[in-house]
């Protein structure tokens, strides 16, 4: 019995020590000294690579914006979004023909200290770092996912790649005029360029760090952003203040502070101080809503989190306007964040059953069929079922997060009209017998299945035979992605996040030359649309351009290519001792440098 007794003793010891630990520790296992001002943030997914050239997700963008510096940034609090210089000394000087951008850099900005530098001290950021960073996107070894942003746009950059991507060879349109002046020459006007220079992939990258770490540069980031990385794995990233980050004091007025709408967040405490205001930033990657919520409400773990959809009804007193229940309002700050993007269902026009057909009569009947399916969609039901009823439903593909949104546009395309749908089907000779099969592609899982069932329910409601609406599931998102990039799917439910506050970012989804494997997953082909897209692609923002954008939007609606759309609205909560206003739209994550944490007891900023 000796062995058994030993095992029992070990078990008893373990339980006893566990309980002692639990009683003593009260669940806070952090060994962080109290004087270190720490902010615990959470994101839904792990970013993967932290290399600016590999940024392809929201969470990766947040990380890159926190670790690196770009030339421009969006003002922290200004809405609609407005650009400001970040590493640049001023907004760019643009030549009259719109082809040459001259950008002067701030002087004395240094990269974070890192052993990649010869003496371990971060050197000064210079114009050549931006030349190098942009060249990297065209170097096959970098495996950039962002080359598309500059493809065919900068004089000589594509040729540089074709000639072997030798960094010692100059690119005609991408030059450091001197240590602090960068000049970009474009092949044609590109009004979105400055927006792109605010994005993570444009961040300054030190060549010696890339060469020092090789492929592992992706997990050993070396930037000049407000924080530097201490540790990183699939569940958490720990960052600390970059001691070399010295910028101008924050001016709330210049950041677009509005005391009427933003006064409740206590942001005044950061006015006139130099960011960042915290010493340590711990970012947890928590995919599971219940775990994230438990960690947030616990009080001493995550301090800011989005409310999971299943908790929306629990925490809200009312949804319109969005008001927290008193017990939550007492403990937390709240903001609503409408995504700069939308969810939609696209028809793949390559499928003659529902898309383009060589027979003009059938072609017109297919359009009527798509329009009927569009009318059958109950957007409000989708919103209530999945987005807590908070989402913003809008017609077409230009959401209200961009200035070109048309508030006067008819909402007919997003109105639930089963009667109209049935009438349209009858008018064009569609009946249960001749309606084509619809194959709805999705990932496996209960949510996807319920999405499909809801979709099928709408269609059976207008007389579509249930057996003709088929679910096709793929094992993984990568498989589904491959299929739609190869134009193998008839019907796709997708989400799109805009890269910058310019409707061009969503209008590109229907530009003919962007067809599969590009972003035009509908494979929409309309010469007039393409002509307008090309015309507007070189136009600076103007009333004329906005009118053309809206015209293109109406074309997509009239051709019933897409069932769109809904911008999801998230609710962010954060503890009362945290001073912040979160925003992850567009280049996301810039707000983290302005976060401050107050001393709970004193109620003032810990300095």
């Amino acid at each position: 019995m000796t062995a058994l007794r030993t095992v029992k003793n070990i078990a008893l010891c373990f339980v006893a020590v566990s309980l002692t630990a639990a009683c003593e520790g009260n669940g806070n296992g952090s060994s962080t000294p109290t004087e270190v001002k720490t902010f615990h943030y959470s994101m839904r997914s792990s970013p993967g690579s932290l290399d600016p050239a590999r940024v392809s997700t929201v969470s990766a963008n947040v990380m890159v914006q926190t670790l690196y510096d770009s030339l421009y940034a969006y003002k922290y609090l200004q809405r609609p979004y407005e650009l400001k210089p970040r590493l640049a000394a001023a907004m760019p000087e643009i030549s009259d023909d719109g082809l040459t951008y001259t950008i002067r850099l701030k002087q004395g900005i240094r990269f974070a200290d890192n052993r990649a530098f010869s003496n371990g001290r971060g050197r000064e950021v210079v114009a050549e770092d931006f030349v190098y960073a942009l060249k990297r996107h065209f170097d096959p070894d970098s495996r950039s996912v962002a080359a598309w942003i500059w493809q065919g746009r900068i004089v000589g950059l594509d040729e540089w790649k074709r000639n072997g991507a030798d960094y010692d060879q100059p690119v005609k349109g991408l030059q450091a005029i001197d240590r602090y002046v960068l000049q970009i020459r474009l092949t044609r006007p590109y009004p979105q360029l400055v927006h792109n220079l605010a994005m993570g992939p444009s961040a300054a990258v030190p060549r010696e760090a890339v060469e020092f770490y090789g492929r592992e540069f992706s997990v050993n980031p070396v930037g000049s952003g407000p924080f530097r990385l201490i540790s990183y794995d699939a569940t958490e990233a720990v960052l600390v203040r970059n001691e070399n980050f010295q910028r101008e004091p924050v001016s709330l007025a210049e950041e677009g502070y509005d005391p009427i709408t933003q006064g409740q967040y206590g942001l005044e405490v950061i006015d006139g101080r130099r960011a960042p205001f915290i010493d340590r930033l711990e970012i947890s990657f928590i995919d599971e809503g219940s775990a994230r919520w438990s960690s947030f409400t616990k009080g001493n773990e995550v301090q800011m989190a989005g409310v999971p959809a299943e908790q929306v009804y629990r925490v809200l007193e009312s949804r319109d306007p969005v008001v927290l229940k008193p017990e939550y309002a007492r403990k937390y700050h709240m903001s609503t964040e409408k995504e700069a993007g939308f969810v939609y269902t696209a028809f793949n026009m390559d499928f003659p059953e529902t898309g383009y057909h060589p027979d003009p009569v059938r072609n017109e009947r297919n359009r009527a069929l798509r329009c009927a399916i569009m009318k059958a969609r109950d957007w409000n039901a989708r919103n209530d079922s999945w987005y807590g009823g908070l989402g913003e439903i809008f017609p077409g593909i230009i959401p209200s997060s961009v200035p070109e949104f048309d508030p006067e546009l008819s909402r007919e395309s997003v109105e639930y009209d089963p009667e109209g749908a049935r009438a349209l089907l009858a008018e064009y000779g569609w009946n249960a017998g001749n309606l084509p099969e619809l194959v709805y592609s999705s990932q496996p899982g209960p949510t996807s299945r319920l999405f499909f069932e809801q979709f099928r329910g709408w269609l059976t409601n207008i007389g579509y035979p249930k057996e003709k609406i088929i679910l096709k599931t793929y094992a993984t998102f990568a498989d589904l992605s491959k299929a739609w990039h190869n134009s193998e799917e008839q019907l796709l439910s997708l989400g799109w996040l805009l890269d910058y506050p310019d409707a061009e970012s969503s209008l590109q989804l229907f530009y003919g030359p962007n067809r599969s494997p590009g972003s035009n997953s509908s494979n929409y082909s309309n010469p007039e649309y393409d002509r307008l897209y090309e015309a507007t692609s070189v136009m600076q923002p103007s009333a004329e351009r906005t009118a053309l954008y809206r015209q293109m939007n109406r074309m997509v609606i009239d051709d019933c290519v897409v069932i769109s759309g809904l911008s999801r609205v998230g609710i962010a909560l954060w503890h009362k001792n945290v001073v912040a206003l979160p925003d992850n739209n567009f280049v996301g994550g810039q707000f983290l440098q302005y976060v401050d944490v107050l001393d709970k007891a004193v109620g003032s900023a810990v300095r």
Binding site: A11, V17, G27, S30, W148, A291, K298, E301
Partner: protein
């Protein structure tokens, strides 16, 4: 010397097993696994860029060439870099496997030790109230899904809505106290679910031993029940118990526990493996498959050696059990 020779023979005999497992797995990975190309090409790729990425991923090379490369990686234990993070696979494994081990070990030990203990009690009182109580509880434990147990324990012991005694998530082994704080709730969830299966299995093994002639004979000789339990029943039951325990080890070392790691925010190999499967991160997947196969060969060897330790009748000679 006998053990050494046997081990060498057994390891050599394990090579075909490793080859078979890796070949079948690699076939599945290559022909049925996710295609990572479109995650890496960006938004508006040209055909040339797609071909470039496929080439970088090695997708355009013949299967045989790729498999030979895989074998070379197994021999050198150099699996290259993750296609998702670019981090060296060896670094990922070195960082995550110890975490998974530390996470799973307490639950594994407790689950098995308590399982044997409860099985002994249940078997001793076979057919009685105690037996029914233990077996009923085991059935309840088996009926509760792992996920529910995890969420339930997390809410009960860690959340503000519950007792708020332990961290909801995170991993800290900087001090024994921090380790215990972080491992307790995952361990309880694991034990809660595993105990039912273990108890039922071990009880069946023990009851079978109890009905053997030598046990009946020992009873007839008037040997005390406790002595019979230890000498005649427990010792003879050790072969299936050892088999079950040792063969669980590779899964603990390599597979980790995806659910535990995801819900408790623990950076172990389970989550890394799962992410590699769903994203098609082949270098990581190949490493996990190969190491699992190798560990199973080692586990098989250890099992045989343990047989010899618990049952002297077992020979490690030319003909093995």
């Amino acid at each position: 010397m006998e053990v050494l020779l046997y081990s060498l023979r057994k390891l050599l005999a394990g090579i075909p097993l490793v080859l078979g497992v890796t070949l079948i797995s690699f076939l599945l990975i290559v022909y049925f696994g996710p295609d990572k190309t479109y995650e890496l090409v960006g938004k508006n790729p040209t055909a040339e860029q797609i071909a470039e990425v496929r080439s970088q991923l090695g997708y355009d090379r013949p299967f045989v060439t790729r498999y030979m490369e895989y074998l070379r990686e197994i021999v050198t234990l150099d699996f290259g870099s993750s296609e998702s993070t670019d981090e060296k696979v060896s670094s990922i494994l070195a960082r995550t496997i110890p975490v998974s081990l530390l996470l799973a070990l307490p639950g594994f030990i407790l689950g098995n030790a308590l399982g044997v203990l409860l099985a002994l009690v249940a078997a001793y009182f076979r057919g009685g109230l105690v037996d029914k109580l233990i077996m009923g509880s085991a059935a309840v434990g088996m009926s509760v899904s792992y996920l529910i147990a995890i969420i339930g324990f997390q809410i009960l012991l860690s959340s503000a809505d519950g007792l708020d005694l332990f961290p909801v998530r995170g991993w800290d082994t900087s001090t024994p106290l921090a380790y215990i704080q972080h491992v307790t709730v995952p361990t309880l969830a694991t034990v809660f679910v595993a105990l039912g299966y273990n108890t039922r299995f071990y009880r069946a093994v023990i009851v079978e031993e109890m009905t053997r002639d030598h046990v009946r004979t020992a009873r007839a000789f008037g040997i005390p029940p406790a002595k019979i339990f230890y000498r005649n029943i427990l010792k003879n039951s050790m072969v299936p118990i050892v088999t079950r325990v040792v063969f669980s080890i590779p899964l603990i070392v390599i597979s980790g526990s995806l659910l535990l790691e995801s819900y408790f925010g623990i950076p172990g190999i389970g989550k890394v493996s799962y992410d590699a499967i769903i994203t098609g991160d082949q270098p990581v997947l190949k490493a996990v498959v190969a190491l699992t196969a190798i560990l199973f060969v080692v586990a098989q060897l250890l099992t045989d050696i343990c047989y010899r330790l618990v049952d002297p009748r077992v020979s490690l000679g030319a003909s093995t059990r």
